[in-house]
């Protein structure tokens, strides 16, 4: 294969857009994923991505912007999760399970009743380079910049909140407000990334770059650079490879990420692997 052939996919505007969005989505998922992983919130990320499917279906039927439909739906799902889990008889994990799977089921029902929107919904489920439009590039640049600015501006507070929420509260950190802002950032990350990575696979991108970075460093200060860098690489290589193997972009990005995670896991010693095993045991403030 010549160098010219290697550059062939970049001749197409839709592929250029897909690569840009996949790369930025990988970086964004990597950055937000640091806190998702350290707070054991991957189930929330997984749930939100499923909830977004319902919003995508509604927006497709109504003919409104995906970002409006998925955004409103995502916020409603998050509020509903909070309301249901506030009742002591139902835990947060059960609330997430009920709300997000119900939302997903609504999306499936709408899809089956409206054949015209099935193509765009497949894109939401599995991610597709053809589903990326010029507006998506603009949205991910704007939203990604805002989320990155938020994370780095409040890095100390987010770290404190994640490590020790009670002491953070007594030290003057506005824990509830910061928590709400982080949930909004997480929802926004899922929504802007979902078209290229896919609702079914996005939780992998929230978890794998951060978990891989965690095995490579003992410093959260380095993790917040390393995880987005890995996510960027996974997004770019996965999207590029998807062109040649002709599989959905989300699947290829996830396969690349999982392969690198596996390689790092095998290359590191037992003590380093233990930190990944312990990621499940962290106290969850959310």
């Amino acid at each position: 294969m010549t160098a010219l052939e290697l550059l062939e996919p970049f001749e197409f505007a839709f592929f250029q857009r897909g690569v840009v969005v996949a790369t930025l989505a990988g970086a964004l998922c990597g950055l937000v994923g640091v806190f998702v992983v350290l707070r054991s919130m991957s189930y929330i990320g997984h749930g939100l991505s499923h909830a977004v499917f319902g919003g995508a279906a509604v927006s497709a039927v109504l003919g409104v912007s995906f970002f409006v439909g998925a955004g409103v739906w995502g916020v409603l799902a998050a509020l509903l999760i909070g309301r249901v889990s506030a009742r002591s008889t139902v835990g947060a994990d059960a609330a997430i399970g009920v709300v997000t799977t119900a939302s997903f089921a609504i999306g499936l029902a709408i899809q089956s009743r409206s054949g015209a929107v099935s193509g765009s919904l497949d894109t939401v489920l599995f991610g597709n380079v053809l589903g990326v439009f010029r507006g998506d590039v603009f949205v991910i640049v704007v939203v990604g910049s805002a989320i990155t600015a938020f994370v780095f501006a409040y890095l100390r507070e987010l770290t404190f909140l994640t490590f020790d929420p009670e002491v953070a509260r007594t030290s003057g950190v506005r824990v509830d407000l910061l928590d709400a802002c982080f949930m909004i950032a997480l929802s926004a990350t899922v929504i802007v990334s979902v078209r290229v990575i896919g609702a079914l696979l996005i939780s992998a991108m929230l978890v794998i770059p951060a978990a891989t970075a965690r095995m490579l460093t003992d410093s959260i200060g380095r993790m917040v650079w390393l995880a987005p860098a890995l996510g960027t690489g996974f997004g770019f290589v996965g999207m590029y490879a998807s062109w040649y193997v002709d599989v959905p972009s989300g699947a290829m990005i996830t396969i690349v990420a999982a392969a690198v995670f596996g390689a790092v896991y095998l290359a590191t010693d037992v003590s380093r692997r233990r930190v990944v095993a312990a990621l499940d045991d962290h106290s969850v403030a959310a």
């Binding site: 002591s88 404190f160 490590f163 953070a168 045991d281």
Partner: protein
């Protein structure tokens, strides 16, 4: 603000989780000169009282008055810490120190944090991950984090829990030095003989305050039975009270009568 003004006053405080009352009608005050230990059995509400003091738990009735602008340093139970979290000793202390948005910690603040760590015996360990420390050093990291806020009142939840005898002595001496330097201290502990009996003031708690005073007054069989719900004996050894638990045929030294609330 007068120096005689109490730092914290609990007035008829009750706290509940849902419909379950954890503490009822708790009343005491903490002054600037205090070095007090709250003792009580499992479920007695020790940790809840500390959380109400810190403002983490809101009383369901009564009130907790904190002296205006009082700076409180809090050292949580080490068992609640996630030791695999990716932070170094320096990072833990630096979390409490504000910095400019997008900016690095000021050089003067870095120096101040370094001084706090060195003063507390963690010199040379600043860049170590927190799991690479001994039990005593780990306790000191969180003590340093609390001290970095330059508190007037230091609050510790079970500082002697899960540490060996030598470390417990270290902690006790460290706290005694801090108290001598003018810091008010309140802590919870299960360890009556190893820790509480060495403090100038003990508050016995069993959902409400059973007794409050110096060890020689409070460590009394009647008070301890009301606090722990089991008969206990108090002996004098080397001028110190030693509490013995009755179990079956003979008395046992009451080191850990229960677990935390």
């Amino acid at each position: 603000m007068g120096s005689r003004e109490p730092l914290v006053v609990f007035e008829h405080v009750g706290c509940s989780y849902g419909s379950t009352n954890v503490v009822d009608d708790v009343g005491f005050r903490l002054d600037r000169s205090d070095f007090a230990g709250i003792v009580g059995p499992s479920g007695s509400g020790k940790t809840t009282v500390l959380k109400a003091l810190l403002g983490i738990v809101e009383p369901s009735y009564g009130s907790v008055h904190r002296c205006s602008d009082v700076r409180i340093g809090y050292v949580p139970q080490l068992e609640t810490i996630d030791w695999t979290f990716p932070v170094t000793v320096f990072d833990v202390v630096a979390m409490t120190v504000a910095r400019p948005r997008f900016g690095r910690l000021a050089r003067s603040e870095r120096r101040r944090i370094g001084d706090v760590l060195d003063r507390i015996g963690l010199d040379g360990l600043h860049e170590r991950h927190i799991t690479e420390l001994s039990g005593g050093q780990q306790q000191r990291v969180f003590l340093a984090r609390a001290l970095a806020r330059e508190p007037e009142l230091l609050v510790l939840d079970e500082p002697a829990s899960g540490v060996d005898v030598a470390t417990r002595h270290e902690i006790l001496h460290e706290l005694a030095d801090l108290h001598r330097s003018g810091l008010a201290i309140v802590l919870t502990t299960h360890d009556i003989n190893g820790l509480a009996a060495h403090l100038p003031r003990i508050i016995c708690l069993n959902r409400t305050v059973v007794a409050d005073g110096p060890p020689e007054q409070v460590l009394h069989p009647y008070v301890l039975e009301r606090t722990y719900g089991a008969p206990m004996e108090v002996l004098q050894h080397g001028g110190m009270p030693v509490v013995l638990e009755h179990r079956g045929h003979g008395p046992h030294i009451a080191r850990r009568p229960g677990r935390s609330a």
